[in-house]
Amino acid sequence: MTSTTARRLPRPLSMIGWSAVIALGTFALAAIALNRGESIDAMWFIVAAVCVYALGYRFYSAFLAAKVLALDPTRATPSERFSDGRDFMPTNRWIVFGHHFAAIAGPGPLIGPTLAAQFGYLPGTLWILIGAVLGGCVQDFVALFCSIRRDGRSLGQMARDELGPIGGAVALIGVMAIMIILIAVLGLVVVNAMRNSPWATSTVAATIPIAVLIGLFMRHLRPGRVLEGTAIGVVLLLAAVFGGGWIDDHPTLRSWFDYDAPALALMVMLYGFAAAVLPVWLLLAPRDYLSTFMKIGTIVALAIAIVILNPQVQMPALTQFIDGTGPIFGGNVFPFVFITIACGAISGFHSLIASGTTPKLLANERDARFIGYGAMAMESFVAVMAMVAACVLEPGVYFAINSPAGVVGAQAADAVATISSWGYPVTVERMETLASEMGETTLFARTGGAPSLAVGMASIFSSAFGNTLLSVWYHFAIMFEALFILTTVDAGTRVARFMLQDLLGNVVPALGRTSWYPSVLICSALVVAGWGYFLYFGTIDPLGGINSLWPLFGIANQMLAAIALCVATTVLVKSGRARFAWVTGLPLVWLVTVTSVAAWEKLFSPDLRVGFLSHANDLAAQLASGSMTDAAAAQAPRLIFNDRLDAALTLFFLVTVWVLIVETVRICHAALSGRRCPPLAETPHVPTRLVEAER
């Protein structure tokens, strides 16, 4: 992995080895891209991905480390200079890698590829691989590097230092906005997975008391014994999965956990509020331990299962939906595949982690390559596995699970007829058998990606580890997704609350006191109301909510990536490395193009399923002409308002990105032509005194 291991081999041998990797990778990619048969081995995806990451890491990241960033191992890192035994602490690179990976990898890389599979496996897979190696990994690496050279400062602070107050303000507002949209859409994914499913709902509900129990255990009985607490928690979680099956079979008990989507949305909001105002040790921290453990465990198990089992990918390379008529979300393959898959290819959110806790732990600047570039390659690999898990389903089944009732019809017979007419045969019996195997009443229109991923994972797991207990595997997968989605909901609400308190504190100083309880309650309620609004309206939207919310999330996340890349490009230009500015500049240009085109289409496309405004106008026209049913007419004004709100938000994102781009160009131009601009905020070189013991 490291340059030292490469050097151990004699040069010719190393060259032969890497040539073999290039040949194998090319062959695997060709097999994936050119396959026009019925199905293809999942192994090719794994081989192609591993080769691409290995080459990207070995050559491109080495170039970045040596030439572009000029990592300096003799320079003391913030962890050494400010060592306080807590925040700042020189830490073994593998441990930092583990922390960093656990922090960046959330539900995003699992959901995005699942949704993007509607275009066929090829566009998504290529974007995940290329986007990660040339974009996402670079962004994480450079953001981490910039933060290390600036005492571990956050992205917002760096934007302010390097780009001036406008850049700083844009970054802060961008982070708030993405947080709100992110939580809403993730909440919707969980709600859709639990909708009218007593088994899923009771299992997910059980994770709350389990977390509280572990919280109490680690607070009062065995303070700080993380491993003991986690072990007990995992056992209890598994018991909850089995217990859910028992509740599902019980005629009275099951009715206690049987809710429709709007009711579940309200419960998730209540939960999010509670999690944001309760002390962290009681709910948030123990839930995070459990979720991290389950996350790593499940990802490893999935990788092993795919490698052992080598399932057949049944989805075609390309579907007819690349023309924008797809049922899961509307829009052409360009730009929407690049918006739908953010996490796994390039995710702006990572720059917050790479400029948050991680830079305060790095013992040596040289490790930034392994941690920044390497961890993102690993997350990208998770996205490839999610793509495989979605594509091993028969395409008919995949579309039946993921298409909203508003598109394919609410009745099972209508849905299968529509989907079969697209050339993806599926029958009502097939769906009913599958649903009963998974322990669900129905799998039609379970939008959001979680249920179809769970069906894919359940099929892979059950054939790898014994062909029984499909329903238990399915609900295990649902529980695992819900567990870390809810962790993001908790943690995100809390962070957004702090930001809001910070922001409002400028106007009303009392609200800025993070420990003043009325302020905690007010600001938490405001944040929950913000994402809760989008979540609730997502659940009553006939097109399923995901159709409008997921692209908004993608645009917001890519916008954050654009902010990080703006800062990085400015830093490169100001530090006299303008000839390498393309390293971050090209991904930036690409992202801005993709985000702007997507935002433009979401605003002004005449296609009702793409353009927010045309959809709103269409509803308004129908309402005015009186052609709607009473129920639809009652709902229409809210949907119209919602569309216009989504449009306003999209416009806001678009304007924000362009303001920042203009600022970046202005500052870079000033720096290059020797005019006045904010100076490079890099801290001066201090030699390291750490002896490298563990290398």
Binding site: G85, M89, A491, V495
Partner: protein, 61 residues
């Protein structure tokens, strides 16, 4: 073999933060013991640490 297992265990503890208090004590002895005073006890350390840990962005999407 035993040595390897021991290392894996130590690594797991560090990765999960199970040994955070031990590491804090080691740091305290090295950096602060000379100035006198007493280090935090385990429960107090865990209390303070958890609260502090969740003030910023810790988890991503």
């Amino acid at each position: 073999m035993i040595a390897t297992l021991r290392r894996v265990w130590a690594c797991l503890r560090e990765l999960t933060g199970d040994d955070a208090y031990e590491r804090y004590l080691a740091h305290w002895r090295l950096q602060h013991a000379a100035k006198g005073g007493v280090p935090l006890d385990r429960a107090a350390f865990v209390r303070e640490e958890q609260q502090r840990k969740w003030e910023g962005v810790r988890r991503c999407c």
